[in-house]
C-alpha cells in the first residue's frame, strides 16, 4: 500500500511538473511590466532580466519591457488587474501593491494576481550630505536644534520614504519636513546640491553619489548589516554601514521585489514562470546585479511566498495606519 502511494506520488510529481517544462510555454513575447518610470530601480531590474534571459537562452520568446509608471505605478497594477488569464505578462512588484490601495483608494488587491516568486528585498539607508553630521546621534541632535525643520527628500507621497520619515519623527522626537520628489535619483541630486538635509534612499539610488564622496550613509534600516563586504567606495563597503538599531534608532523596514502574473492563469503557466525565475536567479547577471544594488537575497515561491506577502502586507498596513496615511 505504501509503495502504491509512493508510485502515485511519483506519477503525480511527473504529471504535475513535467507539463511545466514540456507543456505550456509562452506563445507571444513575454512582457515584463514595470510599475515605475524609465531609469528607476524596477526598470533597471527589468532590463537586467531581459538581458539575462536573452544571454542565457532561458526563453524561446523575446522579452519586452513595458513601462507603466503612470500615477506612481498605479497604472501597472490596474493593467495587470485587467489582464486576467494572460500569462505573457509578468509584473515586477514592490510595496506599492500594499500602499497604493490604502493611500489612494486604488481598487486593487494583490490577492487578485497570481504570485510567482519573491526575488529580492531592498534596503533603506539614512543618508545625509557629506558636509552634514557624521553619526546618527549627531544628526538627530542637529535636527532637534535646528530652527527650521530638517528637510528630508524622498520618492512620492504617503509611500515607503514618507512612512519612514514619520517613524523617524516618532522615534527621535525631531521634526522633519518631507519633500516628495518624482524619483529616488532626483532625491539623491537634491541632497548633493544641499537642497535637502537627508534622504532614506535605497542603496542603488544613492550608490553613485556615495562613491563620488558627496553623501554619507548614516545607518541601514534593518536588523542586520548588509552582507556585501567588497569595497564600494575607497574606504567603505556596504557592510561597513551600521544598522540604525546599533546607533540607537530602532526602526526597521525592508521592501520586497516580487514577480506576479495576472489573475486566473493556469497552474502550468504559474509553474513555468516559477521555473524560469529559479533559473534566472542562478545566472551571473542576476548575482552581479544583486551585489551591485546591495539587494538582500531571498527566493520564495508557492505557500512560503503567500505567507510572506500576508505578513508583509499587514505590517505595511499597520505602518500606514499609524502614520495616518490611509485614505478615508
Amino acid at each position: 500500500m505504501r509503495n502504491l502511494i509512493k508510485i502515485a506520488a511519483a506519477t503525480a510529481v511527473l504529471f504535475g511538473s513535467a507539463p511545466a517544462f514540456a507543456g505550456w510555454e509562452p506563445t507571444k513575447p513575454v512582457e515584463i511590466v514595470v510599475a515605475a518610470g524609465a531609469g528607476g530601480a524596477s526598470d533597471q531590474m527589468a532590463r537586467m532580466m531581459q538581458a539575462a534571459i536573452q544571454k542565457n537562452n532561458l526563453l524561446k520568446q523575446p522579452v519586452v519591457v513595458s513601462l507603466k509608471g503612470g500615477a506612481s505605478g498605479a497604472e501597472a497594477l490596474m493593467y495587470m488587474k485587467s489582464s486576467d488569464g494572460d500569462a505573457n505578462k509578468v509584473l515586477i512588484a514592490y510595496s506599492l501593491i500594499y500602499m497604493l490601495p490604502l493611500s489612494a483608494k486604488l481598487p486593487f488587491d494583490w490577492h487578485e494576481l497570481s504570485p510567482v516568486a519573491v526575488i529580492a528585498l531592498d534596503q533603506f539607508v539614512l543618508w545625509d550630505n557629506v558636509n552634514g553630521p557624521k553619526t546618527v546621534k549627531e544628526f538627530i541632535e542637529a535636527a532637534k536644534a535646528s530652527s527650521s525643520p530638517f528637510k528630508l527628500g524622498g520618492t512620492g507621497s504617503k509611500r515607503e520614504d514618507h512612512v519612514l520619515t514619520v517613524f523617524l519623527e516618532k522615534k527621535t522626537g525631531a521634526k522633519f519636513s518631507y519633500l516628495p520628489y518624482k524619483s529616488g535619483g532626483e532625491a539623491a541630486t537634491q541632497l548633493v546640491g544641499g537642497h535637502t538635509e537627508a534622504n532614506v534612499n535605497n542603496p542603488s539610488e544613492n550608490l553613485e553619489v556615495w562613491r563620488a564622496g558627496q553623501v554619507r550613509p548614516l545607518c541601514v534600516f534593518d536588523k542586520e548589516r548588509i552582507s556585501y563586504t567588497a569595497k564600494v567606495t575607497e574606504t567603505q563597503s556596504w557592510n561597513d554601514i551600521p544598522t540604525c538599531k546599533e546607533q540607537g534608532l530602532d526602526v526597521q523596514y525592508l521592501m520586497l521585489r516580487a514577480m506576479f502574473l495576472p489573475g486566473k492563469v493556469t497552474q502550468e503557466q504559474q509553474e513555468f514562470y516559477v521555473d524560469l525565475f529559479s533559473k534566472l536567479v542562478q545566472t551571473p547577471e542576476y548575482r552581479d546585479y544583486m551585489e551591485k544594488q546591495a539587494l538582500k537575497p531571498i527566493f520564495l515561491t508557492g505557500k512560503d511566498m503567500v505567507q510572506f506577502l500576508e505578513e508583509d502586507g499587514s505590517l505595511n498596513k499597520q505602518l500606514m495606519t499609524e502614520a495616518g496615511f490611509v485614505a478615508k
Binding site: 518610470g37 524609465a38 531609469g39 526598470d43 533597471q44 532590463r47 537586467m48 531581459q50 538581458a51 536573452q54 544571454k55 523575446p62 522579452v63 519586452v64 519591457v65 513595458s66 513601462l67 507603466k68 503612470g70 500615477a71 506612481s72 498605479a74 497604472e75 490596474m78 485587467s82 493611500s103 489612494a104 483608494k105 486604488l106 527650521s148 528637510k151 512620492g156 507621497s157 504617503k158 509611500r159 514618507h162 519636513s177 518631507y178 519633500l179 516628495p180 520628489y181 518624482k182 535619483g185 532626483e186 539623491a188 541630486t189 537634491q190 548633493v192 546640491g193 537642497h195 550608490l207 553613485e208 553619489v209 562613491r211 563620488a212 558627496q214 552581479d288 551591485k292 496615511f325 485614505a327
Partner: protein
C-alpha cells in the same frame, strides 16, 4: 587641453568601419522613427535597445545615440510638412515651418530646420566637451524654487511676448494647467480628476494631445477648406541648400541667442521644450518685423530648432554626470547604460573615460553624418507634398493613431487624440492659441510640484523665490516679461513725451 586629447582619443575609438556602419544604421532608423508622429525618439530607442545587448558598450551607445540624433532630425520633417510635431519640442517649429511649406518653400524650411539642429547640437557638444564639470555643478544649484522660477519664466514669456490676445493666451494656459492636474499628484499622493476611470490614472499624455491638437485638427481644417494640401511641389536642388546657407550669417544673432538659451535650459529637466518656445518668442521679440512671424518666416524655424537641439544635446550631460535624464529619450538611454554596467554619476567621467569620450566624439560625428544624410533625403520628403491630399490624409490619420496608441499601448489614447483633434479645430476657429495650451499641459505638473515643494521648504513664505541671487534673478526676469507690454508702452510714451519736450527746450 586635457579635454581635447581625450576627445581625439574618442575619435580614434570610433573611426572603424564597423562603428561607422552602425552609425549609419542608427541614423536611418532614427529618422524613420522620428518621422512617425508619436513613435519618436523614446519609443524608437526603447524598441531598438535589445538589439544592442550583444554589442560592446561603446558600439551600442554609439548606435543608440545615432538613433537619438536621427529621431531629432526626423521630428522636424512632420512638423514642417504636416503641422504634426513628432516631439514636444518640435511644436514651435510648426509655427513658421508649416506656413513655409504651404507657400511652396518646404525645401527651404527643411534645410533651415536641419541646419539649425546641427548648429544647436554642435554648440551644446562643444560646451559639453569643455565645460562638463562646471555645468554639472551648476545643475546641482537647482532646487525646487529654482525649477519653479524657470517654469514661471517660460509661462510669463508666453503671456508677455506672445502675439495673440493676452486673455486668450491666459485662457489657453489655464485649460492646459487644468488638464495637467489629471492623475496622481506627487505631493499629496492622491488621485485627482480621474473619476474612477483606469485610463485617466496615467493622466493626459502630452504627445497624444499634441498629435490631436496639431495633426488631426489640421486635417479637419484642410478638409473644410479644400481637399488639397496647400504645399506646392518645390524644386529642390543643392542650390536651395546653398541659398539657405548663404543667408545663415544674417541670422547669427538668432542662432547665438537660441543656442545660449538651449544650453542653459538643457541642463534642467523638461528644458528642451521650454527652450524651443523661448527661443522662438525671443527671436520674435527682438525682430524688426515681429508681425511676419507665424506667416512663414525662415527665422521662425531657425530659432526654435537651434534652441531645442542645443538643449536636447545639453540634456545628455546631466544624464551622464548626475543620472538625471533631461528627456524621455535620455531616460531610456540611461536604462541602456545600466544594462552595460555603466552607472551614470559623477564618477562615470573618471572611471569610463573611453566610453564617455567615445560618446561625445560620436555626437560630433553623428551630427555631421546625420546632417548630410537628412539633407540628401530632403527631396524625397518634400515630394510627399506632391501626392494628392486624398491619398495622404488617411495615411497621416493612421500614422497619428498608431503614434498615439504606441506611446502607452492604450486604445483610450486614440480616442483622446481624436477628441483633442476636435478641440484643436474649435480653438483654431475661435483663435485661441494652441501653443500656451500645450506648454501648460507639458510643464504644468512639474511647475506645480516645484511650487508646492518650495512652499513646504519655506513654510508657505513666498520670499523663497528671492532667497538667493540665482532664483531671485530668474523670478524677477519672469515678472518683468509678464508685464513687458505695459513696460514697453510706458517706455515708449515716456520717450515720446520726452522727445517733444526736448525739442521744445531746443
Amino acid at each position: 587641453m586635457e579635454a581635447l586629447g581625450l576627445l581625439l582619443h574618442g575619435f580614434a575609438v570610433l573611426l572603424t568601419w564597423k562603428t561607422l556602419a552602425l552609425m549609419m544604421v542608427g541614423l536611418v532608423l532614427g529618422v524613420f522613427v522620428g518621422v512617425l508622429p508619436g513613435l519618436g525618439g523614446p519609443n524608437g530607442v526603447a524598441i531598438l535597445l535589445p538589439l544592442t545587448f550583444s554589442m560592446d558598450p561603446t558600439s551600442a551607445i554609439v548606435m543608440l545615440s545615432c538613433i537619438y540624433w536621427g529621431a531629432l532630425f526626423g521630428g522636424a520633417i512632420t512638423s514642417i510638412l504636416f503641422n504634426i510635431p513628432g516631439e514636444a519640442w518640435s511644436v514651435a517649429t510648426t509655427f513658421d515651418g508649416y506656413p513655409m511649406a504651404q507657400q511652396g518653400k518646404a525645401a527651404e524650411a527643411l534645410t533651415a530646420a536641419f541646419t539649425s539642429s546641427f548648429i544647436g547640437s554642435l554648440v551644446a557638444v562643444l560646451l559639453i566637451t569643455f565645460l562638463a564639470p562646471w555645468i554639472s555643478s551648476f545643475a546641482l544649484k537647482f532646487g525646487p524654487p529654482e525649477f519653479f522660477a524657470v517654469y514661471l519664466l517660460t509661462f510669463c514669456s508666453f503671456v508677455g511676448l506672445g502675439r495673440e490676445d493676452k486673455h486668450k493666451t491666459v485662457i489657453a494656459m489655464a485649460l492646459g494647467l487644468l488638464l495637467a492636474g489629471v492623475g496622481m499628484d506627487t505631493v499629496s499622493g492622491q488621485l485627482r480628476m480621474t473619476f474612477g476611470s483606469t485610463d485617466l490614472l496615467r493622466g493626459i499624455n502630452f504627445l497624444v494631445a499634441v498629435i490631436g491638437l496639431f495633426g488631426i485638427s489640421e486635417i479637419l481644417l484642410t478638409m473644410e477648406e479644400r481637399l488639397a494640401l496647400r504645399g506646392h511641389a518645390a524644386s529642390i536642388s543643392l542650390r536651395t541648400v546653398l541659398a539657405v546657407w548663404k543667408d545663415l550669417p544674417k541670422y547669427w544673432m538668432t542662432l547665438l541667442r537660441s543656442s545660449v538659451i538651449g544650453c542653459w535650459l538643457g541642463i534642467t529637466p523638461g528644458g528642451a521644450i521650454a527652450a524651443s518656445f523661448m527661443g522662438y518668442n525671443l527671436a520674435k521679440r527682438f525682430s524688426k518685423d515681429p508681425d511676419s512671424f507665424g506667416k512663414g518666416r525662415i527665422e521662425g524655424v531657425f530659432a526654435p530648432e537651434t534652441a531645442a537641439h542645443a538643449s536636447g544635446t545639453a540634456a545628455l550631460l546631466p544624464m551622464l554626470a548626475l543620472g538625471i535624464p533631461g528627456s524621455g529619450t535620455a531616460a531610456i538611454l540611461l536604462g541602456g547604460l545600466m544594462v552595460w554596467g555603466l552607472n551614470p554619476g559623477p564618477l562615470l567621467f573618471v572611471e569610463h573615460k573611453d566610453f564617455v569620450w567615445g560618446l561625445i566624439a560620436s555626437m560630433y560625428l553623428g551630427n555631421v553624418v546625420g546632417l548630410v544624410l537628412v539633407l540628401s533625403t530632403v527631396p524625397i520628403f518634400a515630394s510627399i507634398l506632391r501626392v494628392p491630399f486624398a491619398a495622404v490624409a488617411p495615411m497621416i490619420v493612421v500614422s497619428c493613431a498608431i503614434g498615439a496608441y504606441a506611446i502607452q499601448n492604450a486604445m483610450f489614447d486614440v480616442w483622446l487624440m481624436l477628441g483633442f483633434g476636435v478641440v484643436g479645430y474649435v480653438f483654431k476657429k475661435i483663435k485661441i492659441p494652441l501653443a500656451p495650451f500645450t506648454l501648460a499641459l507639458v510643464l504644468g505638473s512639474r511647475a506645480e510640484d516645484a511650487f508646492r515643494q518650495s512652499m513646504i521648504i519655506s513654510g508657505g513664505n513666498m520670499k523663497v523665490f528671492w532667497a538667493n541671487g540665482l532664483v531671485g534673478t530668474i523670478t524677477t526676469l519672469a515678472i518683468l516679461l509678464l508685464f513687458w507690454p505695459l513696460i514697453d508702452r510706458l517706455v515708449a510714451s515716456v520717450s515720446k513725451s520726452s522727445a517733444p519736450a526736448a525739442k521744445a527746450e531746443a
